[in-house]
């Protein structure tokens, strides 16, 4: 595996990561996809989930993203994330509390718009929890 992909993770507030890697696995809305060098150009939406960065056969980095977009070219993979957090930096207790709070908010939400907003947040928090539960997360 001589060729590398330039992986970039960008949030609205800053450029979080920019490094050459062997492979990245991105959680697309229609299923996870791995990006190797020479991938066909593609634009996809990203669901809340974990991006895995591979160096050789090993996962060297796991980053949680709360949805966004991915742009893939032959040499580059750019992920525009709304929110990104290293998996190791997520505090399980805080997430569980957030889920509890949000569930309460959901029952309080008056309008449909409010409800949808809370549901979206809840989905993100739930995805965070799921990400923590997957094996190998605590590397």
């Amino acid at each position: 595996m001589a060729d590398k992909v330039e992986f970039e993770l960008v949030s609205p507030e800053k450029l979080l990561k920019s490094l050459p890697v062997d492979m990245v696995v991105v959680p697309g809305t229609e299923g996870d996809f791995g990006v190797l060098a020479g991938h066909a150009p593609m634009i996809a939406t990203v669901r809340p989930g974990v991006i895995e960065v591979y160096e050789g056969d090993r996962v060297v980095d796991r980053v949680f993203v709360a949805g966004g977009f991915a742009e893939v070219t032959e040499t580059r993979c750019t992920v525009l994330a709304e929110e990104a957090q290293a998996l190791s930096a997520i505090d399980r207790a805080a997430v569980e509390k957030a889920i509890k709070d949000l569930s309460e908010d959901l029952s309080d939400a008056a309008s449909d718009a409010d409800k949808a907003a809370v549901e979206a947040k809840l989905a993100v928090a739930q995805a965070k929890l799921d990400a923590l539960a997957t094996p190998g997360a605590a590397h």
Binding site: V10, S11, P12, K14, L15, M42, I43, A44, T45, E82
Partner: protein, 294 residues
């Protein structure tokens, strides 16, 4: 003859004013640096999003039925103006120029027989426009990003704009903000947000832009998600520019104020010394003429 005590009081009051303005100048300078860094940090995201949008738009344009956010509602009778100002004063012409431009736009649009609605960000624009155009105001945000401007703040504003758009409350949305050029110069910028004008890519499109992308899901669905996100980004950029401009304007204003206070202190001190000498001379004359009278 002016009273010596009054002069002394005035000097000390101007001195404390100078202390305050010079402190404010330094605070503004450090905040300006932070704001600039933040504005720079948001560059990569906006740039990449612009690139994605350009290639998406190129693909969708042919089909002729892009999402409303891009093609517009088909009419332009109701305009929404988003006016970005600051929450605090003492920053020179910063808010004044925004409000002036806003008024100019409002009168122009109304002259063309359009309906205008206003959405203000920051206390100053709201206060200054309320008397004349209070009836047009839809909503006013205050204390946006008071500690540190985050993307969530911009998102809040753009969500409001979007929900109004979805409810069909306006056709065209324009944002008015101060663009940061340098600490002494800010440019009032009027930018149309909805319908979104696809940024003109450089004259010769690079190979990357021309590359044929695969889309997952299809381009219209991605575009439908990307455009609201792009709106938030544009608002975020505008707020960042405005924040940097505000600090720049304040820094310059406070620098001038500090210098003026210094000049004033010098003048007052000269007056004070002259007066003091005049008093001494007067008293001496009194003593001497008293002695001569004996």
């Amino acid at each position: 003859m002016p009273n010596l005590k009054d002069l002394k009081n005035r000097i000390s009051s101007v001195q404390s004013t100078r202390k305050i303005t010079s402190a404010m100048k330094m605070v503004a300078a450090s905040k300006l640096r932070r704001a600039q860094e933040q504005a720079q940090a948001s560059g990569p995201y906006a740039e990449r999003m612009g690139r994605m949008l350009a290639s998406l738009a190129a693909n969708v344009q042919g089909s002729g039925n892009g999402p409303k956010l891009m093609t517009g509602t088909g009419s332009d009778s109701v305009h929404l103006l988003v006016i970005v100002s600051s929450d605090r004063g003492l920053c020179g012409a910063f808010n004044g120029s925004i409000v002036r431009e806003a008024k100019r736009q409002i009168t122009r649009l109304q002259g063309e027989g359009k309906t205008v609605k206003l959405l203000t960000v920051g206390r100053k624009a709201r206060d200054q426009l309320r008397r004349e155009f209070g009836a047009l105001m839809v909503h006013g945000y205050e204390d946006v990003g008071r500690r540190r401007l985050s993307f969530a703040d911009a998102d809040m504003v753009s969500q409001k704009v979007l929900s109004m758009f979805d409810a069909g409350e306006f056709d065209v949305c324009t944002i008015i903000f101060n663009k940061f050029k340098s600490a002494i110069s800010q440019i009032v910028t009027v930018q149309q947000l909805i319908p979104f004008a696809v940024p003109e890519t450089d004259a010769a499109p690079t190979d990357e832009v021309k590359a044929v992308y695969e889309f997952e899901p299809d381009e219209e669905q991605i575009l439908a998600e990307l455009l609201p996100r792009n709106l938030s980004i544009q608002v975020y950029r505008a707020l960042l520019e405005s924040a940097a401009s505000e600090q720049g304007a304040r820094m310059t204003a406070m620098d001038n104020a500090t210098r003026n206070a210094g000049d004033m202190i010098n003048k007052l001190t000269i007056t004070y010394n002259r007066t003091r000498q005049a008093y001494i001379t007067k008293e001496l004359i009194e003593i001497i003429s008293g002695a001569e009278a004996l």
